[in-house]
């Protein structure tokens, strides 16, 4: 009996990570982000082949290997999220006016800045000022 659900899940994540890798490569994103996408794809390919094995026969990996792979994925994802957060801060305009706006607008700005960072892959070549002016509009409205 083959674990169809597991195969579908890992296969889907693999395809998404590979598409992200291609997208970030086209956008000339930072190597950290591209490497993370490739790492996630590789780990999920390994999980995919692990799921291909039958329940009763020996699987490719033992539990220690599986948990260590999960740990590697978890730690690298945390690092990438932290990097995204740090990089998104540069889009947020600085000034005393920022403290006076309501929390909803602040969250909205942060989400937009994160979105831009993901779209650019941390690459700061051009368009920074345009993004900053877009975010300033939120403060002024």
């Amino acid at each position: 009996m083959i674990n169809i659900e597991g195969m579908a899940f890992t296969g889907l994540i693999t395809i998404i990570s590979l598409l992200t890798f291609i997208f970030w490569t086209k956008k000339k994103a930072l190597i950290n982000f591209r490497a993370w996408a490739l790492l996630t794809a590789l780990i999920n390919i390994m999980f995919f082949f692990n799921e291909c094995q039958t329940y009763n026969s020996n699987r490719c990996f033992d539990l220690t290997t599986i948990f260590s792979l999960y740990l590697i994925q978890f730690i690298t994802t945390l690092i990438i999220m932290f990097k995204l957060w740090k990089l998104s801060n540069r889009y947020i305009p600085k000034g005393s006016k920022l403290r006076t706006i309501c929390v909803t607008k602040q969250i909205q700005m942060k989400v937009l800045a994160l979105g831009y960072t993901v779209k650019n892959g941390g690459n700061s070549k051009g368009g920074d000022n345009k993004i900053k002016s877009n975010l300033k509009k939120i403060i002024n409205n």
Binding site: L30, I31, N32, A35, W36, L38, L39, L42, I43, M46, C60, F61, T64, T65, S68, L69, I72, T76, I79, I80, G122
Partner: protein
Amino acid sequence: MVDEFLKQLFIVKTYTLQLVLCYICAGFLAGLTRLVIRNNSKISFRNWWNDGSLGGALIISVTGAVLFDHSLLWAFLGGYFFTYILEAIQKLLKEKGGDAL
């Protein structure tokens, strides 16, 4: 002692295709993890290929397999930390080469 080591390496332990593929995957994972963690955006995939992650993983994983157990974790850790040793050796050699010139 060497005979015993070689016997252990090639006769007692069996290296299946699956195991070798696991070691290669571990080498790739170690190299990619280094790329994710390091804070140098100027490096490229070519640097990563040349910095010895794969070779390091293979060397340490075979040693780990002989001394301890067949394990992807050993291969990964070997690939990850052995690269630093390779880098240090490379730097030393460059310095020595620079002095000689």
